[in-house]
Symmetry: C2
């Protein structure tokens, strides 16, 4: 498994304490994180602004991707397959648990192709499934 340090290096980013800590959060968790999750992280609270800027940098470098949700929030998750800058390959399904609210990247479930009406040319697809996750089903 790639470490935070390795991710920063291969992305050509300076290795700073904050970035390492935020990556550690992502690496140590199955579920996707919200801005708030990161801001009030256990070790020491991050400055709001730093979180905004760090997430933006990670997005730009293809380290993380955004997951759209129907409620105002946006979630972030690591790109498992290396993404080029700007171009994401996060064509996997995301699962949101209605019970515990955790969002999981189902990296092995790829978004199926659909047949669109005449005239629509697809480029990217995203799929979000909600329901009950493994942990909550027990």
């Amino acid at each position: 498994m790639e470490t935070g340090l390795e991710i920063l290096k291969r992305s050509g980013l300076s290795v700073t304490d904050g970035r390492k800590r935020i990556l550690k959060l992502f690496l140590g968790r199955e579920a996707a994180l919200s801005h708030a999750d990161i801001e009030r992280n256990t070790e020491a609270a991050f400055d709001r602004v730093t979180v905004y800027r760090t997430l933006q940098t990670f997005l730009d470098k293809g380290i993380i991707h955004q997951i759209p949700t129907t409620d105002n929030s946006i979630l972030y998750a690591l790109c498992k397959h290396k993404c080029e800058e700007g171009k994401h390959h996060d064509n996997h399904v995301h699962f949101i648990c209605d019970s515990c609210d955790k969002t999981t990247c189902l990296d092995d479930v790829i978004v199926p192709a659909v047949k669109l009406p005449k005239g629509f040319m697809p480029i990217n697809s995203a799929m979000i499934v909600s329901g009950i996750c493994t942990d909550c089903k027990k």
Copy 2:
């Protein structure tokens, strides 16, 4: 085609000028609307607060549904098939045009089922396809 008046009546809502105007916007447009689209509507600007409250009411009554997008915004679109309160049947694919930014409900394209890993129980699915729409392809 159902009129705004009819929609309000069957939903048990008071028929007010603002609600009729907002419904008219939805009915007269193929694409989904953002909060901002509605706020600065052509006839006369709505009060911000009224838009928030009206959209919330429509959501509660199952008149409209939200469409998640990867950029911070949320879009709203009419539910074509009658939705019960709280329970939406908007299981169709949404299409976002990368060129003109319009979001269209592909009402006839239903979200395909996917096989999830053991333990995950799906309840709802959403799918967003981005690319080039009919209008922009010309």
